[in-house]
């Protein structure tokens, strides 16, 4: 299977090219084509293949492609997924989205206009997102009388520019998407072109797939424990291969153990490789949870809470330094701050420019600090463990895409010190009451008697944990008894009755939020609260 994107501006005939590929490779059904014929008859024009892909009403009305559309077709030898992305600069983020999962880019140019600034922008973005193969399709050759010199000129201009972008293989094909020349079949009208038709090229390219088979990385998505005797780690292999009895290192603990079983449903496998989703069991009991990682001990990923990355800003609200964002990386979501912007890249000239923020569609290099370390590789080596998104916790929007370039040498003590200067920066903490919140409670039944855990509360704690919250269990029960209870029921927690991130003299654990069934929240009006206290009933009491 080959995944590719198509980039080019509205008038370059991109949608027509895709329509042509789909139509000629049988990716378009007769009834869909029939509806195009009807539209053409109404407009008294020839069939417009671009209507096959411009799906949303707004797009058909404005005759532009505003969002990424995915298309599927197969030839006799290969399956293809096309991400059809809009070309205009204001839609850079959509092109980035399409490119993030693609192995190849087809960039269109209009033969009449030649290579434009935007052609170079598309090539740069494709490369930035890790695409190493670019096909320059010089379209509308019919409009220039199939003139070889026009084609050669475009190739030369692109070559001059592409010299600035490293590690890219490029291919050039002269086509007419509207009339079909060199799209699926070789055109007799351009005998001077000796290369293959576009589809032939796509079929014959060896599949590199950007797959890294050396460095085994396995981010744990979920721990499966159907019973006391079985503990399996569910996840998708990001890169590399794993075989039975091979040694792995667990991160962040650094403990080493070996793989006991590789399971896929009811089958037991000898080996598994990226990008398979499997279930692993380990020889030793190791405390591993969602967001942790198993890796090849011979080539461990970087582990740091300070990283340098290229980000593409995707939100109308510009990047703000020292505002809290969430970073989602593999199976971890943590709070973070962008603490430095080194520069932004002018995507027309590739110049690096000093700046204080990043606005929508801008690309820049930044330093990010997280509360806990991430386990990662540089994006150029690993597209899974090298990528992340930033989320604005106020709006929940995805505001940026990031590609890690390297980690910054950084020690944990300075991070702690930095955190202490700024209370805002601290890891959010929730203190959770046990009787009546975490555990069902209908009255005192004696010391160390606890009700069943409430599944919804446990699930909420798991969700908070993935978002980077610290969980402090706040209870009147004895520590030993509650520890057994928490472990037995797989309830996530960090500490019991204390929060050692703070050295407060009193015994109350410091927390951002206290979750209790016996709390009255101060309303700003003590007299009103007095009434609330006098009439106080717990949730189970009111039931």
């Amino acid at each position: 299977m080959l995944r590719f994107i198509t980039a080019g501006s509205v008038d370059d005939g991109k949608s027509t090219l895709i329509g042509r590929l789909l139509y000629e490779a049988n990716g378009v059904y007769e009834d869909q084509f029939e509806s195009l014929r009807q539209v053409a008859a109404q407009r008294r024009s020839s069939v417009d293949l671009s209507l096959l892909t411009d799906g949303l009403k707004a797009e058909r009305e404005q005759a532009i492609t505003i969002d990424v559309a995915y298309r599927y077709f197969c030839s006799t030898t290969r399956k293809f997924i096309i991400a059809d992305t809009p070309g205009h600069e204001q839609y850079t983020r959509n092109m980035v989205t399409g490119a993030s999962t693609a192995d190849l880019a087809i960039i269109l140019v209009d033969a009449r206009k030649g290579v434009l600034e935007q052609t170079c922008r598309h090539a740069y973005i494709a490369r930035l997102l890790g695409i190493r193969r670019i096909v320059l399709a010089v379209n509308k050759m019919d409009a220039v009388g199939f003139d070889e010199s026009v084609f050669r000129r475009a190739c030369q201009m692109f070559n001059d520019f592409a010299a600035l972008i490293k590690d890219v293989e490029h291919y050039f094909v002269p086509i007419s998407a509207r009339e079909g020349d060199n799209v699926v079949h070789k055109s007799a009208r351009m005998p001077w072109y000796e290369g293959p038709a576009l589809l032939q090229l796509l079929e014959d390219l060896p599949l590199e797939e950007g797959r890294n088979l050396q460095d085994f990385r396995f981010p744990v998505q979920r721990v499966l424990r159907p019973n006391q005797d079985f503990r399996g780690y569910a996840g998708q292999i990001s890169s590399g291969v794993i075989r039975l009895e091979e040694e792995v290192v667990a991160l962040p603990s650094g403990r080493r153990t070996t793989v006991h079983q590789i399971r896929l449903h009811d089958k037991k496998l000898e080996e598994a490789f990226a990008p398979q989703s499997v279930l692993l069991t380990l020889t030793d009991h190791i405390d591993l949870g969602r967001g942790d990682m198993l890796a090849n001990p011979e080539s461990v990923p970087s582990m740091s809470n300070a990283l340098i990355a290229d980000v593409i800003w995707m939100s109308e609200r510009p990047l703000r330094l020292n505002l809290r964002y969430l970073v989602k990386h593999t199976a971890q979501t943590l709070y973070c701050n962008v603490i430095t912007i080194f520069h932004r890249v002018d995507i027309h000239t590739l110049e690096e420019i000093q700046c204080g923020t990043l606005a929508l569609n801008e690309i820049g290099r930044v330093e990010i600090r997280t509360h806990k370390p991430l386990f990662f590789d540089a994006y150029v080596h690993n597209r899974v463990t090298g990528s992340f998104i930033l989320i604005d916790p106020d709006t929940n929007d995805t505001v940026a895409a990031g590609m890690i370039t390297s980690s910054k040498p950084h020690n944990a003590t300075t991070l702690m010190a930095a955190n202490h200067q700024n209370g805002e920066d601290r890891q959010p903490t929730i203190a959770v009451d046990v009787d009546g919140v975490l555990a069902d409670y209908d009255g005192w039944k004696g010391i160390d008697v606890l009700g069943e855990p409430r599944a919804d509360v446990v699930q909420v704690l798991r969700v908070l944990r993935t978002e980077g919250w610290k969980i402090v269990i706040h209870t009147t029960q004895s520590d030993e008894h509650i520890t057994g209870y928490l472990i037995r029921h797989q309830i996530p927690y960090d500490e019991i009755n204390k929060n050692s991130s703070y050295r407060n003299p009193g015994s109350k654990p410091v927390a951002t939020v206290y979750w209790d069934d016996r709390a009255v929240c101060y309303s700003g009006d003590a007299l009103r609260d007095l009434e609330a206290i006098r009439q106080f009933r717990t949730w189970s009491g009111r039931r």
């Binding site: 059904y29 799906g55 990424v68 995915y70 989205t97 424990r225 449903h265 969602r290 899974v384």
Partner: protein
């Protein structure tokens, strides 16, 4: 499997929408695999319009009890009692009440924050732009212009209390992929997908199953036709295709040769131009 595990880990109350069709059967198998040896950690929700084929309901009940699934069946009984049906209301209004409204009611009644569905991008034009994690507002509405960018396989599951997410794990599958997977994994599907002689009404190009006391047009007589269903819905809205493919391999062979799209026979997709996009904006799955 990766997507399903993300949903189970990041949402408080996910549920899997189950339509009894081939895509649902594939999703269930993927969910079994993703969590095995644990049970599927979320309930299965079927929105029953009461106009489904009896074979579908029978299949659902057998399958769910055999695999010990936590099945929720929801029907907009209020609308049914006040006489909602496709013959009286027309398909557009009927879908709005018995599918869209029923689904929204079920999601709010069970406080579901992530609803997993089997829709695929290759089915229909507007679906080609849907995200794998698709954000819906408090009324279940889709706003195609303010979709979150979705990069790599990093899914943003953050929502406000009134919002919910629709999740489409089969986004990148095609109809052929689905059947090839059914063959490889030996997944049971409803008998209606396989060709046999059935009692049908022939209306123009459409073959409509003669079920649920349909009103006949003047002079119309049901006829026996060798056919199969290519997609399943309510009896009136599910057109059949003429086919002799009565096994999974024959269906795959048939699809490879096919030049007509899967939803061509779905009456509801064609009631007006851009009609699927409009339904989705209103909260339809």
């Amino acid at each position: 499997m990766h997507i399903l595990r993300e949903v189970a880990a990041e949402f408080a109350r996910p549920a899997m929408l189950y339509s009894i069709g081939k895509d649902s059967s594939v999703m269930l198998r993927l969910a079994e695999k993703a969590f095995y040896p644990e049970r599927i950690p979320f309930p299965i929700l079927h929105v029953d319009t009461t106009f489904k084929f009896p074979e579908m309901i029978e299949f659902r009940d057998t399958y769910c009890s055999q695999f010990g699934l936590d099945l929720i069946v929801h029907t907009n009984t209020e609308a049914i009692e006040s006489g909602a049906n496709p013959f009286r209301l027309g398909t557009s209004q009927c879908c709005a009440l018995l599918k869209t409204q029923a689904l929204l009611n079920a999601l709010s009644e069970h406080k579901i924050d992530a609803a997993i569905g089997g829709a695929r991008r290759d089915e229909e034009k507007s679906r080609a732009k849907e995200r794998v994690f698709s954000l819906r507002d408090s009324l279940g509405q889709w706003d195609p212009k303010s979709q979150r960018p979705e990069l790599w396989n990093l899914y943003n599951s953050r929502i406000k209390a009134t919002q919910s997410i629709r999740v489409f794990p089969l986004s990148n599958w095609t109809e052929l992929d689905v059947w090839e997977y059914i063959e490889r994994e030996n997944i049971p599907v409803v008998q209606l997908y396989f060709a046999q002689e059935r009692e049908m009404l022939i209306r123009g190009k459409l073959l409509i199953p003669f079920e649920h006391d349909m009103n006949l047009l003047p002079g119309e007589i049901p006829q026996k036709v060798m056919c199969r269903m290519r997609s399943l819905g309510c009896t009136y809205c599910t057109g059949a295709i003429r086919s002799t493919a009565d096994t999974v391999p024959k269906i795959i062979e048939e699809l490879r040769a096919f030049r007509r799209s899967e939803r061509e026979n779905r009456i509801i997709d064609h009631d007006q131009d851009g009609s699927m996009e409009m339904k989705k904006r209103g909260g339809y799955f």
